[in-house]
Each structure stands twice: as C-alpha cells, then as structure tokens.
Amino acid sequence: MAITITPPRPAAILDPSYPPEGEGDNDDDYFDPDGDLQMAGRPTKRAKTTSIVTPGETITEDPQWMRGHGTYNPPNNTKILATVAGTLTTTNKLLSIRPLRARYAPEIGDLVIGRITEVQTTRYLVSLSSPLLSPLPLSAINLPGNILRKRTATDSLNIRTYLSENDLVAAEVQTLHADGSAGLHTRSTRYGKLRNGVFLRVSGTQGGVARGRRQVFELGDGVDVYLGVNGFVFVAQRLHGRSASASAGSAVAEVAATTYSSQNSHIPPATRWEIARVAGVIRALIESGVRVDEEMVRRGYEVSLEEDMVGGDKEGVGYLGGEKGRRIVRRVVGG
C-alpha cells in the first residue's frame, strides 16, 4: 500500500504571514525557526518568536487536531496540552512535539550501536541508551562458519564466545515491542561486533546524529564510520570485505571467522591518524550543534585536510578542537 505523507500544512484559520506552500522544505518535520506556527485557538502572546512549547501549555482547544507524541489530553476535555519542552510539528492533522532533549526512541530500520550489558541463555541484552534494554537473540546474529546454519544447543552454550558483556555491536532495529523496546538483528555483513576503532557518544534529538540514507560509510584512507541513530558513533579501521565484497561467499566465511574476535588487529599509524581526524571532526560538529550525517562528516573531513594543508599553524596538525574546530564547522556549514 502506498502511503503518501503530504508536507505539513497550516490549519484553516491562519495568520497571513505564514510561509506559502511549496516554499522551503517539504520534509515531514516542518520546522521554521523564524516562521509563525500559529493555529486556531492558540494563545497569541508569543506570535513572532521561535515556537517553543513547555509542559502544561495549551496548544489548542480545537477538537479537529489529533494528539501525537509529547502531548496530553486531560479527561473530559478537548484541549491538547504539551507534556515536554520542545518544538511543535504538525503532520496533516497530527500535533506532536519534538523534545529539546530526550532519550533515544527506537524505530524500525534504524542502525544503532549498542553495548552488551547482559548475556542470557539464548539472547543478549543491549544498551542503546533508550529507556529499555533491547534484546538481540542468538538467532539474529551471524554465526561463524556458515551464515545459514541452524542454531544448535552448542551455540547457546557458547554464547559468550561470540559476544560478551561490554562488547560494542552495530545492529539494526528489526521489531518494536509493545513496551517500546527494540528487537535487534545483526544479520548482515555490515553489522556485528565492533573493534579497531574509537567510540563517541553524542546526545540530543535536535542536532546529534540525523537519520540519513547511509549510516555506515567509508571515508578517506581506510576508515569506516558507523553513525548510530541512538547517538553512539564508532570510527574504525576499514573492515576488508564487510562493506565492499559482501556478496562473495568465500569472503563471508572469511569475515565470519574474525567477526567475533576481541583482539584489535594491527592498525598502521597512518590509519590511526585518520581515525583520530574523523573523530575530531565529529566532535567539532557536535560541539557546534550541527547535525551529524554522512554529508556533514565527509565535508568536515575534507575541510580539515585542507586546513592542515594550508595552515601549518601551531595548534598542532591532529588537533581539531577549539578555534580550529569552530573554523572547520563554519566552513562546512557555509558550503
């Protein structure tokens, strides 16, 4: 069934200063910082400023609106109140509020990076920094040898040899349970245990890691970047075969043999520099509140290379914090 999401449109009764349709983004997350998101029945006292709502604020009393995330409808009333502090978004007739900051809420298809917190008999529990731990069943990981092998009792006895507590994994959200926890899987050569790299933690639902077309990509000379939607980021040495020749059967078997190793491989100094550079770029982007996605990281990486080529300044070649970081971000955002 084809589902079309029309761009958010204003309510029938509107302020004439509302931006006309077709102008600006047709993203379903409509947000216009300078615009005037005014609706029927909404208090007019803050008409011209950035539209921030705070808990307990009446958004509308008009019964035609549906309430979405971050809103509340008191009993025996048509009022819709805000329950979190954030920005208001309207999707057709649905009102929802995007909080300024909140824990990650999983969605199906998200690439996430998690840390194993508990090993049970047939599954792992993974911390994604969401409200609940997410189960990763043994049947949802690629076992060494043959990927299409049936799980046996021996496998569940050996469960700790594949992954154990405090390991980092890249996984995809496969199912969402009724209580909001996520069922994960790593049944792709792109996912699995992470090693040979550095881990970064990024927070915020506005800013932070943005959902993009690709969350795992190669960068520069031998570096893989994993941008977990839950705000966990991993920058690692490129895994040969994992992203490039995933289809070849022999490569899969070869990869699988080393997939669950806990030992870091030998990482040449040049690659270590590259990893540090990419991590520095991501840190600089986060510090300035810029969204982190493939495009931004790539551009930041290129700009940082140029800066080091031209600059030769005394701030150190590898260091990307402070004024240098801000300069890089300004150039990235400027285009």
Partner: protein, 251 residues
C-alpha cells in the same frame, strides 16, 4: 480579601527587607551537566540545589518490573550546607520523608505509563540551606525532568508560606508570609505547598509546625499564589534555554 496589596499597606519589612508577599531571588539554569540525561541548578535566595536525572532506564529490580516507571529519589545534603556542620545519616527520618514526598509528587505528574519496566532516578545535591529546602528540591527536580525530556502533565512548583506570629502567642491578627528563610523558619509556623502548574491544584502540602487552624487558609492562599510566580520564573528559564538551543542548531 485581606491579601489584596492595594488595600493592605504594610510598613513592616522582614529581616531581609522583603515585604510579606515577596519571593526571594530565584536563579535557575538547566542542562548544567552534559553527561546526565537531565540536570538543573536552582537557587532560591541562599538555598542552592543541584539536580541530576538518570533515566528512564532499565534497572534490574527485585520485585520484577511494573507497568509504570518507578521514581527513585536520592538526596545528598552537603556537610557544609548548613550553619553548623552536621553529619546526617542515610536513615535520617527528615531526609527520608523529603525523598518520599518528592517521589510521590512526581509519580502523579509524570506520565510514567509511557516507560514500563524502567526507573527514573532523581539525585539532589544540597549545597547551601537557607529555608524552603523541600520547595527548592521540588523546583530543581521539575527543571531537570523537563531537561531530560520526560513527559509530564504540568510543572510541579513549590514554595513555603508562614505566619507572622508563633503558635503560642496566639495573635489573632497574624499575617501570612511568603517564602521563608531559615531564621524565619526557626521561629514561625510554616508550610510547604506545591502545585501542579499555575492552577489551584495542590499536589504537595507539608507542615511540620503548629498554627491555629484559622491561619491556615491565608497561608495556603499566599503559598498557592507564590507557586504561580515560581512557575512563571521557571517557565522563562525553560523557554530561554530552548530558544538558545534551537537557534544554535544548524540544520
């Protein structure tokens, strides 16, 4: 209405120079600690409180997880916070009651049913005490919970209200006072009132001293009115922070 300022001229000023219906200076910040899920710093006069929130997160519980989030409150009173250095034990009854009051208040205002099987941990550090301690803790926790993005029906805001003469003096013409400092709290009867939002829904009411029943209504009315003012101040803090955050984000 005896509480109407225009018809009620009061020459008396309190020890710190305030009138009967004036709050002390409230200064608040949110998102003070980057590593916490939510955090705040609040000053009500010389009472200073830091609050951090951890969660909602899944924590193994002994009794098995319920269908609602559990709220846990931890209060740490610094040794240097009071006038004299006093060692408080973990089992201090007074602290235990504050913890219980705060947990109870927020379990009714937060939409805990959205987070089954998880725990929301509120940690309060008291750096300096000068009266209205419970009220400051409630206000700081509200701000930190907003910063953590945990849905709530409305702000819980609190302040104290007292009466100008002690119980024993039995003065009929005692006036109500708003927002007592510690020297006033020591001498006068007072209560802590917390409301849900700017309305008249009282969600917290704690009174440890004795006062004639006739004075209660006036004290309560002044307290509820003070809560309204506190909510306005806290709301401004949240809005200013939100605006700053939204403007700094480059899409």
């Amino acid at each position: 209405m005896p509480l109407d300022t225009s018809s009620y001229s009061l020459a008396l000023l309190r020890l710190d120079g305030r009138r009967w219906n004036e709050l002390r200076r409230i200064h608040a910040q949110i998102s003070t600690q980057a590593a916490a899920d939510g955090s705040s710093y609040l000053e009500m006069g010389n009472t200073k409180v830091i609050c951090t929130i951890a969660g909602p997160a899944e924590v193994r519980r002994t009794g098995g997880g319920g269908s609602d989030a559990e709220i846990k409150v931890e209060i740490d009173i610094a040794g240097f916070s009071g006038v004299e250095r006093k060692k408080r034990t973990k089992t201090d009854k007074r602290v235990a009651e504050m913890r219980y009051t705060i947990a109870n208040a927020f379990s009714s205002s937060l939409l805990t049913h959205l987070y089954p099987r998880s725990t929301i941990q509120i940690t309060l550090h008291i750096l300096s005490q000068d009266g209205s301690l419970l009220a400051a803790c409630l206000n700081a926790a509200t701000l930190a919970l907003i910063d953590a993005g945990i849905p709530m029906t409305d702000y819980i805001v609190a302040c104290t209200a007292g009466s100008t003469s002690s119980y024993s003096s039995n003065d009929e013409s005692a006036d109500p006072l708003l927002d007592l400092n510690s020297s006033e709290e020591m001498e006068l009867p007072f209560l802590t009132v917390g409301t849900l939002g700017a309305g008249e829904k009282v969600s917290v009411l704690v009174m440890e001293t004795r006062a004639q029943i006739g004075r209660l209504e006036g004290m309560l009315a002044v307290g509820v009115d003070g809560c309204k003012q506190v909510r306005e101040i806290l709301d401004q803090v949240v809005r200013r922070h939100g605006k700053k955050l939204v403007n700094s984000i480059v899409e």
